[in-house]
């Protein structure tokens, strides 16, 4: 058996089997995560349909420019993450390190843009429980902003976890605790999670910013 691969846990008969199990485990986890966001999407979609006017008024208050910039930043981070997986497979450590750090920086940039958005919206009174009075008359517009804050918040938390994971991989590459291409699977799994968080945003962005605009 190959010595390069990590020791196989006793419940497995072969390293390949363990890899497959780890991969499937992550996919199942992501399916579960999708349902977590699914509930919020479900609510947002229904309100777009039954309160179009209020949703139009509410959506139009969002800053489309920062929204688009944020989306672009996140999409770019997907690319760097994909490059990291490729570099890991081919065992090119330095290159992997560079794109991983790039991914972390892009992730942080997205979080910064989002926090800026939140403060901006707060100043306009769009955070209904606190701050300046809420500017829109329709009750459903408030509901929209409640869902907006909870869904972008939930997404930001997931992204923060992703940033920590990617930073962790980069750190163990840097300190040589992690060898490539032997541990490609770790980079792949973190990459899969990162892409998932991105995809959530790719659905969240139109649902929040575009549909009723």
């Amino acid at each position: 058996m190959s010595d390069a691969l990590p020791a196989v846990h006793e419940q497995f008969q072969a390293p390949g089997q363990q890899l497959e199990a780890d991969r499937l485990g992550l996919w199942v986890f992501l399916a579960s995560e999708a349902m977590l966001f699914g509930a919020v999407f479900f609510a947002l979609t229904v309100y777009h349909l039954i309160h179009p006017a209020a949703m139009h008024a509410a959506t139009s208050r969002l800053d489309l420019v920062t929204g688009v910039i944020g989306t672009a930043v996140l999409l770019t981070s997907s690319t760097t993450m994909a490059l990291a997986v490729k570099a890991a497979r081919e065992g090119r450590r330095t290159e992997a390190l560079i794109v991983l750090v790039g991914t972390v920086l892009l992730g942080l940039a997205f979080e910064a843009i989002k926090v800026h958005d939140w403060f901006d919206e707060y100043d306009q009174g769009l955070y209904p429980p606190m701050g300046p009075p809420f500017p829109l008359p329709q009750p459903a517009a408030r509901l929209y902003f409640h869902l907006y804050f909870v869904s972008t918040g939930l997404h930001a938390v997931h992204l923060a976890v992703g940033i920590l994971l990617v930073a962790g991989v980069a750190a163990s590459l840097l300190s040589n605790r992690m060898k490539l291409p032997e541990r490609t699977v770790t980079v792949e799994m973190v990459g899969l999670y990162w892409q998932f968080v991105d995809i959530v945003w790719i659905f969240l962005f139109p649902t929040l910013y575009l549909v009723s605009r």
């Binding site: 846990h9 006793e10 419940q11 497995f12 008969q13 089997q17 497959e20 199990a21 499937l24 485990g25 199942v28 986890f29 399916a31 579960s32 995560e33 349902m35 977590l36 966001f37 699914g38 509930a39 919020v40 479900f42 609510a43 209904p128 429980p129 606190m130 009750p139 459903a140 517009a141 408030r142 509901l143 409640h146 869902l147 804050f149 909870v150 939930l154």
Partner: protein, 544 residues
């Protein structure tokens, strides 16, 4: 094989270590199953104590021991503990944990550490919730309906909700572990259609666990955000929509009722074949109907909301879909009964539990159709009829199967036989005690007695007293196994490999099984339930 095992008996998982550490931190799936068994038994008795007080209070029409508030808190404790800390983990986390790796010929689950972690998460969540419910007193009912739970109810809703949220992780991780295990760890030759139906049904359950529980997590998160940050999702004063809560809650909770009952189906297939000594009737149909139930279960949540401002057309769609979901359940019942036909049926305690299940589940399922009919439901909803309906399924059905499984696999888990006579008596007591407790509740509901009140018109007293009398029988019947099973641990007859003469990999290894389950990885060359078993002397005389 038997002779070999006699020569050098491998150390069983129980003898593997004697320290507390070896139990609480062992990643062995069998040890974790035992941990779950002990902890959910404790939760069962907490929930049961609340039920006892509820039935005691209902002996009298004008409430003689409890205040309104105390009564509300009691049925909340009862519901929350029974649903999330007994029924949902009951069969999957104990018997699923113990049996799935063995049934598929593996040494353990795919992620043993995750398995241990989910037990710790579960126990932590359980203690947290019990503390919240006992110290604070939550009066929302297990459904946590908003805006009551977010606006009016006292502050302990938050810790209760947080506890249930945490327990969700345990459910999701367990489901994930089972799914990956069944996909990736099957022994050579163990194809999907050679899997015991137990595995199929737990697999279907796991899908629901993984896909429905996160929706509960979101729902609870929104309650939390509404109460703590004032973000109004459900409270109309803040722009929220109370019906949204019901949609989200039932989108989880209807599938969740299948998390509770699919594992009972899993046990049924094993019991009916083992005690009829016959191949299951319609293997594939049963396997696929489990998946059908898991899928359809996501499409019927609206039948809990016929009177919640849902449009008539939506109501009709949900009604029709609810009728459809009864079909795969009914198919299973027909298959189990057909399995007995021309079999060598014996009536040991586990089989009595299984037959009891059929009787009670059929009543529960049929009354499900009553409440799924939109017109009828307007009259029946929020009455004792609904209470009786779901208790017939979840308690009559699932809890009976849980006890059936406990008796059936007890010799495998402990190496000792339970005493047969008390087992049979308890099986009968549970059936008849159950009937006496819940049949009157159908009538009460039909006559219009609402649920969740402890005061009622005096003309309902007779039926309520009957119900409480039944409950006292149930209390005895549910407690008795605690004693005779404990007794059997020390004085029970030693069980050999296969005390029931049943088929399945779990009956080919020592009782209790060694830590590694199998000395060598088994190679499976036979279909599931290959009855009559080869060495069995059945059908010897006339070759029928």
């Amino acid at each position: 094989m038997t002779a070999e095992a006699k020569k050098a008996p491998p150390k069983s998982y129980i003898e593997d270590g004697h320290t507390l550490r070896s139990w609480f931190f062992s990643t062995d799936h069998k040890g974790i199953a035992v941990l779950y068994l002990v902890s959910i038994t404790l939760f069962f008795f907490v929930g049961g104590a609340a039920a006892t007080l509820i039935r005691l209070e209902l002996l009298s029409p004008n409430g003689f021991i409890l205040s309104n508030d105390a009564y509300n808190r009691l049925f909340t404790i009862h519901g929350v503990i029974m649903v999330w800390f007994f029924l949902i983990p009951s069969i999957p986390n104990t018997f699923g944990n113990f049996l799935i790796p063995i049934m598929i010929g593996a040494k353990d689950l795919a992620f043993p550490k995750l398995n241990l972690a989910s037990w710790w998460i579960f126990v932590f969540a359980g203690c947290f919730v019990i503390a919240a419910l006992l110290i604070g007193g939550v009066d929302t009912g297990w459904t946590f309906y908003a805006p009551f739970s977010t606006m009016f109810s006292n502050g302990y809703v938050i810790p209760a909700v947080v506890g249930v949220f945490i327990s969700g992780f345990s459910t999701i991780l367990t489901g994930l572990n089972f799914i990956v295990t069944v996909h990736r760890l099957r022994a050579p030759g163990m194809t999907w259609f050679r899997l015991p139906l137990f595995v199929w049904s737990i697999y279907a359950t796991s899908l629901v666990m993984v896909l429905a529980t996160p929706v509960l997590a979101t729902t609870l998160l929104l309650i939390f955000a509404e109460r703590v940050f004032g973000l109004g999702f459900f409270d109309p004063q803040l722009g929220g929509d109370p019906v949204l809560y019901q949609h989200m809650f039932w989108f989880y909770s209807h599938p969740a009722v299948y998390i509770m009952v699919l594992p009972a189906f899993a046990v049924m297939s094993e019991l009916m074949t083992a005690f009829s000594k016959k191949h299951i009737f319609g293997y594939k149909v049963i396997a696929f109907s489990s998946l059908a139930i898991a899928g359809l279960g996501f499409l019927v949540w609206g039948h809990h909301m016929f009177v919640a401002g849902e449009s008539v057309y939506v109501g009709l769609v949900f009604s029709v879909l609810s009728f459809t979901i009864a079909v795969p359940s009914a198919i299973k019942v027909f298959n189990w009964t057909a399995t007995m036909r021309k079999g060598y049926v014996s009536f040991d305690a586990p089989m009595l539990f299984a037959l009891g299940f059929i009787g009670l589940f059929v009543i529960g399922g049929l009354t499900g159709l009553f409440v799924a009919a939109t017109g009828l439901d307007v009259h029946l909803t929020r009455t004792y009829f609904v209470i009786a309906h779901f208790h017939f399924i979840m308690v009559g059905g699932t809890v009976s199967c849980y006890f059936g499984a406990l008796h059936f696999w007890w010799p495998k888990m402990t190496g000792r036989m339970y005493p047969e006579m008390p087992g049979r008596i308890v099986a009968l007591l549970i059936f008849f005690g159950f009937m006496l407790t819940f049949m009157p509740q159908f009538i009460l509901g039909w006559l219009g007695m609402p649920r969740r009140y402890h005061l009622y018109p005096p003309e309902f007293q007779v039926l309520n007293v009957l119900s409480s009398a039944g409950a006292s029988i149930l209390a005895v019947a549910y407690t008795a196994p605690l004693f005779y099973l404990a007794w059997s641990l020390f004085y029970g007859k030693r069980a050999g490999l296969n005390p029931w003469g049943a088929a399945g990999l779990e009956w080919m290894i020592p009782s209790p099984p060694p830590r590694e389950n199998f000395e060598t990885v088994p190679v499976v060359t036979w279909e599931a339930y290959p009855y009559p078993l080869e060495p069995q002397p059945v059908a010897k005389e006339d070759g029928r």
